[in-house]
């Protein structure tokens, strides 16, 4: 098997590790040389042209810049270009970037990374085209069908090509659609008057996360599981974090259309059922799946059963419960990350742990301590917290390597 093209981190580690093996007498100098020679070409390319990740990053940034440029060109020459001219620019650049991207990646195969970025550019131009048409016909900008169609039509390409970039684009655009559509369907006129969006996005985040786990367990879909899991965990935890504050004076939307929850739950449960099929699952998958199902049920129940909690005591009780729940989620995520050696979980868990500590410090102690003491204590807490988290993180990540070596 040829060495993996992009794994330069592996090469660096291999050099260090193989030196250790040599010292421990596990391999001979000749063997080490032969092992390293296998990856030498990669290193040369790396030294001369920069690492593969850099190329990917540059091409993706390039695509986004060109996409923005096309939109700005059309926008700033509004009256100079007739409608058909503006539309031709969109169609022409759309087809060129898709076509050239496909050719470079799959036919000529000489610039696969640039090709992939050109395909991403095509998808960006597709979305821009949709908004341009909306502008030409003066369709209201807040019209949510635009992002919905954009996301739905990019999704098949993401699956066909197994592109994480396209999948991330589609998921983000669909989340924007969800927010716009839900806002349109509710009678409130200000996001700030209601917390309805928070549990809705929490539920959507859990669903994405669950669907991502299903992708991770199905070998053929594993390559595109990380955008689901990463975006899903971040949204779930961010929404969970927001719910730990005292928001309930604002109240949930009493007439919130349940169709959103129904749709999300169906997708999520389908993902969870499909997750049960493949063999050879990761450790802790049963508590993980059950945890997600229970969490989703709790959030949906709370948002439906408690539209307006008026007595202060009931509100305090709910807040305490949501704080405990959030703590439990963080704890569970870090534990799972630890047993599974999955760094996304550990990092997301520790990030929200730190945010939660800071937020509760401000909530609970702001009134109780004199100002100067408050700042000194806060500063010390942050410093020690930082040291503690850093050490913990290092120990956990290091233990991944040790465990791997043990097995």
């Amino acid at each position: 098997m040829p060495p993996h093209r992009e794994d330069l981190g592996f090469l660096r580690k291999l050099e260090q590790e193989s030196e250790l093996w040599l010292k421990e007498g596990m391999i001979l100098p000749e063997q080490r040389k032969r092992i390293l020679a296998r990856y030498r070409l990669l290193k040369k390319a790396d030294e001369k042209a920069g690492p593969g990740k850099l190329i990917t990053t540059l091409s993706i940034l390039g695509s986004i810049l060109v996409g923005v440029g096309v939109i700005l060109f059309i926008a700033s020459n509004w009256s100079g270009i007739p409608n058909w001219g503006r539309l031709s620019i969109v169609f022409f650049s759309l087809l060129i970037s898709y076509g050239l991207g496909f050719y470079l990646r799959y036919e000529a195969k000489n610039y696969p990374k640039v090709g992939a970025s050109l395909i991403l550019l095509g998808s960006l131009i597709f979305g821009a085209g949709m908004f341009l048409i909306a502008q030409i016909y003066h369709i209201t900008v807040h019209y949510p069908n635009g992002p919905l169609l954009w996301g739905l039509f990019v999704l098949p390409l993401a699956y066909l090509l197994r592109f994480r970039s396209l999948l991330s684009l589609a998921l983000l655009v669909l989340l924007i659609w969800l927010g716009m559509e839900a806002h349109l369907q509710t009678s409130h006129h200000s996001y700030l008057q209601s917390v309805t969006m928070v549990p809705l996005f929490c539920v959507a985040g859990i669903a994405l996360w669950g669907i991502g786990l299903m992708h991770r367990d199905w070998r053929s879909l594993r390559a595109i599981s990380s955008p689901y899991i990463f975006i899903g965990t971040l949204i779930t935890f961010f929404a969970g974090f927001v719910l730990t504050f005292d928001l309930y004076a604002l109240g949930f939307e009493p007439d919130f259309p349940l169709i959103f929850y129904a749709g999300i739950v169906v997708l999520f449960l389908a993902g969870m059922i499909l997750r049960c099929y493949p063999e050879g699952k990761e450790k802790g998958w049963i508590p993980e799946t059950l945890g997600l199902v229970i969490l989703m049920a709790i959030v949906i129940y709370l948002s439906m059963a408690s539209p307006n909690i008026s007595p202060m005591r009931a509100r305090a009780g709910l807040r305490l419960f949501l704080n405990a729940l959030f703590g439990l989620e963080i704890f569970g995520l870090i534990i799972l990350g630890f047993i599974r050696r999955y760094s996304i979980y550990v990092n997301v868990g520790l990030l929200f742990f730190a945010l939660d500590v800071v937020a509760r410090y401000f909530d609970l102690f702001w009134e109780l301590l004199p100002r100067s003491l408050f700042f000194i204590a806060g500063g010390l807490l942050l410093l020690f917290g930082g040291i503690l988290l850093e050490r913990k993180r290092r120990r956990i990540l290091a233990s991944f390597n040790i465990k791997e070596a043990d097995e």
Binding site: W78, L95, T140, F153, L160, S187
Partner: protein, 244 residues
């Protein structure tokens, strides 16, 4: 894979062409009507590269139209239209069912509220009396010293309270300040409706001119109506001239 890739890309192209064809068909076959615009609250003016439009039919006086029904937010409504002598259309009635045999435009109810019509008498510094009809006046009382900013046609652009320590100025329009002599408030049921024709996209920098004529009530919008009453903007007229 190549074939599937081409298929998915073509799907995207077909979708875009489909949207264009649908809108173009609507523009070509719909019935054209003209609507009058009304000033928008000056704090909510020109944002980015589009002009927010408000029409006389955006806010319906249910009492004046003799409509007894009440409407919920987000409900579909059909506003029956009637031609004015100047060629524009005004609301004659509003219902939840599509009317038959009448010209109507479809919209979405935003909210129904109890609004107020104000008529106030202002005594200026040379003791002259002015009768004014501001759209909002609830935060002022008799005896207050206020400043009105008026455009050249006498429409009210803004109202500010004056005090010994605070002398506001008009950012646009003519100032008229004085003491409030009399306030008359008449309450009525008002329904705010959105028709999906509230934004007009323009080239960057062109919005301000359209904004000011919108606030001076010289702006007419041409709308193409489909048979189900949905409208699409097909033109903008400032002083009877088509804006490109």
């Amino acid at each position: 894979m190549r074939k599937t890739f081409v298929f998915f890309v073509l799907l995207q192209v077909v979708l875009l062409i489909g949207i264009i064809a649908y809108r173009q068909y609507w523009v070509a076959t719909g019935e054209r009507i003209l609507l009058k615009t009304t000033p928008v609250d000056p704090r909510d003016i020109f944002r980015g590269d589009y002009v927010s439009l408000r029409y006389e039919i955006s806010s319906l006086n249910l009492d004046e139209l003799a409509v007894k029904q009440s409407f919920k937010g987000n409900e579909k409504v059909y506003v029956i239209l009637q031609k004015n002598p100047d060629g524009t259309f005004a609301a004659k009635s509003v219902s939840k069912e599509p009317p038959t045999g009448k010209k109507f435009i479809q919209g979405r109810a935003l909210y129904e509220i109890l609004s107020s019509k104000w008529e106030i008498v202002l005594k200026d510094d040379s003791e002259n009396l002015h009768r004014l009809k501001p759209q909002w006046f609830s935060s002022f009382k008799q005896g207050d010293r206020v400043l009105f900013c008026l455009d050249e046609r006498g429409n009210i652009l803004a109202v500010h309270q004056e005090s010994a320590g605070y002398k506001p100025e008009c950012r646009g329009g003519q100032p008229l300040s004085g003491i409030v002599e009399e306030i008359k408030e008449k309450k009525f049921r008002s329904l705010n409706v959105e028709y999906g024709i509230e934004n007009y996209f323009v080239e960057e920098g062109k919005g301000m001119a359209i904004e000011s004529s919108r606030n001076a009530r010289e702006l007419r919008v041409e709308v193409s109506l489909r048979s189900d009453g949905k409208g699409i903007i097909t033109g903008l007229f400032v002083n009877g001239k088509l804006v490109k």
